[in-house]
């Protein structure tokens, strides 16, 4: 009987979904996956952060490789977007400011209830390496959150600047005019945001400027994407 009731509840969708949106409140849901987080100097964790696809394929990115970034001194880490990001707290409907809702205390254990939380097993103090890893993960998480806020802000700027640009366009991660391959990695982003990105690229390197070296092109890409993140790479599906 208890099993039958559980089955009915699952069918009605009452069980918490394992794949909930990662960015509630932004009007977007995050695709599962990971991104490559590129940072600048080691002693300035909050200096800037750029999110790139994990598969930094040299061919599809026109010679832009993780190895080239590493050799240029950038710090690279992989950020698991789905596992590390907490959704924004949803507001409780009808709960006005200053008003307190009384609730029944959560029931632990008992028939039908969630299992009783077990006390942690003997938990040794984290090693320095584990502590460092925890700090890095926390910093990465903060970078993801900051990039999402930046994206929302930039998107609003773009929509204000190009109010008539509706729909979506494909954006080459390495622009074709900078030598990126025609069949290179593309992202479908809002048209207004694409126009803003294009404008920023041309401010750094306009069409009539000859050709940049590989290093200067890399610098342009990192500069632009640290200010104008690609939404898919920070867990936002535009």
């Amino acid at each position: 009987m208890r099993l039958l009731l559980l089955g009915v509840l699952m069918l009605l969708g009452c069980t918490p979904s394992p794949s909930r949106p990662l960015v509630e409140g932004m009007g977007a849901s995050a695709p599962a996956g990971a991104s490559l987080l590129v940072r600048g100097e080691a002693d300035k964790l909050d200096e800037w952060a750029v999110f790139l696809p994990v598969e930094l394929d040299e061919v599809s990115l026109g010679g832009w490789s993780a190895e080239a970034l590493r050799s240029a001194g950038y710090r690279i880490s992989v950020v698991e977007l789905e596992d590390t990001v907490e959704s924004a707290p949803a507001q409780v409907a009808g709960n006005e400011q200053g008003e307190f809702l009384s609730r029944r205390p959560p029931r632990r254990g008992g028939p039908g209830g969630p299992p009783v939380r077990r006390p942690p097993s003997l938990n040794p103090r984290p090693t320095p390496r584990q502590r460092q890893e925890m700090q890095r993960r926390a910093a990465d998480l903060a970078a993801v959150q900051a990039a999402r806020e930046l994206y929302v802000q930039r998107l609003a700027e773009a929509q204000a600047l190009y109010p008539n640009s509706q729909g979506y366009q494909d954006h080459h991660l390495v622009p074709v005019y900078l030598g990126g391959p025609r069949s290179g990695t593309t992202y479908r982003i809002p048209t207004a945001y694409h126009k803003l990105l294009t404008r920023e690229f041309r401010r750094e390197w306009s069409y009539d400027r000859g050709e940049p070296t590989q290093q200067r092109r890399q610098e342009i890409l990192l500069k632009i994407y640290s200010q104008y993140p690609i939404p898919q790479l920070i867990g936002i599906n535009p």
Binding site: R203, D208, R209, G210, E211, K223
Partner: protein
């Protein structure tokens, strides 16, 4: 002749290291200085310092040259600087290139094997434009004017849309004259402070001289056949994606004057020298 160099420098770096020079464009600053200005050397040193840490102090740069009317009057040839540039280029719209005879080292020598295909709505409404791959597109009006005035060295090919339909208003301008040779003291390199001593962007077989031309252009007099529209045999640039190494395009004074009379927009030239 006045030479002006323009840099694009990140606003944060510019404000901390250069003070208030230049004009802010948001996240990037536009700094224009005479080439001989002391601050140009400072920017070069800062860039070298940044390079040691795997970074660049400036991103974009370009050199523009400005002449007196007398210098323009006495010029023997003009090097055309493309200003009206658009994408998508031919290869992105169905134009095919045959690279079987191209240099395996630098990619020079790829031959356009089909007519030029372009998206009609992306062609600027100007008489003379270039794609990002430096395919030249001219208006029908300009093509007729060039033919009427007997301009030599120019060929006119049809332009088609991505589906193959003929674009009546446009023609591809090709260069049919014999190429001229680039000679010293023409300076080619990565940028003003990096002459590519290691030859990273130079073809060992001599097809590509380097990434960018940094000085005025000098060409060998004996290689010039007197045509109005000429290209150089040696190329600059690199084979990347749809981009190919490209020749410099030279105009005779007659052709330059005609383009001025026809009020061709975004026409920027530099004086080129025969030696």
């Amino acid at each position: 002749m006045r030479e002006i160099i323009e840099f694009r420098i990140g606003e944060a770096e510019a404000s901390s290291l250069l003070g208030k020079i230049g004009r802010s464009l948001g996240n990037v600053r536009n700094v224009r200085l005479p080439l001989k200005d002391e601050r140009v050397r400072l920017i070069g040193e800062l860039d070298r310092e940044f390079n040691r840490r795997g970074r660049s102090f400036y991103t974009g740069w370009s050199i523009s040259r400005h002449y007196t009317p007398e210098e323009m009057q006495s010029a023997q040839l003009f090097a055309l600087r493309p200003r009206s540039i658009f994408e998508p280029c031919g290869e992105m719209c169905g134009t095919e290139y045959d690279e079987s005879e191209a240099c395996p080292l630098c990619g020079a020598g790829a031959r356009q094997s089909t007519e030029l295909h372009l998206e009609p709505e992306s062609i600027p409404k100007r008489d003379l434009s270039f794609t990002i791959a430096r395919e030249m597109v001219i208006s029908n009006r300009l093509a007729q004017a060039l033919q009427t005035h007997g301009i030599t060295g120019a060929g006119f090919l049809p332009v088609r849309g991505p589906t193959g339909s003929l674009l009546e208003d446009w023609r591809q301008l090709t260069i049919t004259s014999a190429p001229v040779d680039v000679v010293a003291p023409t300076l080619v390199g990565n940028d003003l402070f990096d002459l590519d001593e290691q030859g990273q962007y130079r073809c060992p077989q001599g097809h590509v001289l380097g990434l960018n031309r940094l000085s005025e252009l000098w060409v060998r007099k004996e290689s010039y056949d007197g045509s109005d529209l000429v290209r150089t045999r040696q190329l600059t640039g690199a084979r990347r994606g749809v981009l190919h190494p490209k020749p410099e395009i030279l105009l005779s004074p007659k052709l330059y004057r005609l383009l001025r009379e026809l009020k061709v927009g975004r026409l920027v030239v530099e004086v080129a020298h025969l030696t």
